[in-house]
């Protein structure tokens, strides 16, 4: 059992290669302290992020999912983040109906130079997830409902 058991939660971050991953790197190079709950998955562009990535993480047991890409107008591929913005915004409508707290999923924009901002985003999102606590996992086989109940 990890020594961090109970102290750390599982947060999955999907970061675009060109801005947010660079921003996270800048924060590291600048030695800004940040929580270590986030596991980063680097993707070419926020437009690469299939909403199912987010859902798979949440159903698979992640306590939170953070998506970050280039600021609007700054996408390396010109328009990937515009499509991502619409998809992710729509996806937020699916979480409450499934019984997943919509605050467990957020998306934002961080550029490669914004190390400070990255620190702020990670810290506040991690604090938000810690406030919510560990996510209850979907059980694989619930107790069968009583017949006629």
């Amino acid at each position: 059992m990890s020594v961090l058991e109970g102290k750390e939660l599982r947060i999955v971050g999907f970061l675009c290669n060109w801005c947010s991953y660079g921003g996270a790197d800048t924060a590291g190079v600048g030695r800004f302290t940040q929580p270590t709950d986030l596991r980063i998955v680097r993707v070419p562009c926020s437009g690469r992020i299939n909403p199912l990535f987010v859902m798979k993480a949440l159903i698979g047991g992640a306590d939170g999912v953070l998506v970050s890409g280039c600021h609007p107008r700054d996408c390396h591929y010109a328009e990937g983040n515009y499509y991502a913005r619409r998809r992710l915004e729509v996806l937020k409508g699916l979480l409450p109906v499934l019984g997943i707290d919509p605050r467990r999923f957020e998306y934002t924009w961080v550029s490669a130079s914004e190390g400070q901002r990255w620190q702020h985003v990670v810290s506040s999102f991690t604090a938000q997830i810690h406030a919510l606590g560990p996510a209850a996992r979907f059980t694989e086989a619930p107790e069968p409902a009583r017949l006629g109940a």
């Binding site: 619409r86 998809r87 934002t108 979907f138």
Partner: protein, 320 residues
Amino acid sequence: MSIQDELKSAITAALPDVSCVVGWGAGPEPLRAAPLFIRGEADLEGFSAGFLSVNNPALYLPSLKGSKVGVVVKGCDARSVGQLAAETLIKREEVHVIGYPCRGVIDVDKVAAKLAGACETGEVAALREDGDDVLLNTPKGEVRLAKKDITADKCGRCAFPNAGNADVFVGERCAPVVTEDGYADIADFEARGLDELKAFWEQEMSRCIRCYACRNACPLCVCRDQCVAMSREPHWLSQGDGVRDKLFFQIIHAVHLSGRCTGCGECERACPLGIPVLKLKRALSRRVEKLFGYKAGGGDTPPLLTFLVEEPTIKERDWK
């Protein structure tokens, strides 16, 4: 001339120009009609449209792309045709749409609930319509049921009973049941709270048998053999029968239909276990309608296939 005769003559008129006309004919039992492919006037014999015309004939259009076909549609089916055309999954000029005013269709599950204890729906020997009622011949005698009690839920929130995009429309256009779908059912559902909803889906999905009838009945699920649910690389779903895999399949279906689902309800109707899978799609439709003012099926570009540099309805995520 009755609507049936008018429809038949509209189909007859269309037949020379099309390879077939998709409509409804007699099904496996008196309560159920089945899709009918009319290739000649001889096939017209079994045709009938009305209270039993449950299936969405738009389902077959993508696979018939490339030849001119006719299709008889209810209002909701016409929305599916419009959406398929908007996404160029069919060519609108290849489809001859014959519309008629729809006043709702049967929900056999509701009939089963009404007959519970007396007999099974399969034992009903005949069904006869009598104004606002239907008369069922059951082994226990004749049963009279009010149509409004056994009409599908989706018909209670129908804003498009008349095929708006029909090439030929027969009969008198009827007034919509509601002018605006308020998604009150989804709001009520959500009000049950996160914990209860999670338990609800665990319980419901534990009954799922992964038959994929919901997908196969969906007119907008066009990937067929390329469905990501079957893909091994990436391996989105295991072969297991756990709740998470089964729920994730429903999430795939809902996400892939976001901004596309016209709410025809075929997924839920086709489910042999009566799992309310349409709710997930309607939650996303409500979101899309709120954000982009978009109702699927009208023929405009789907909102997720386009963007605005400045989104007036999306709050910029500047993070405090």
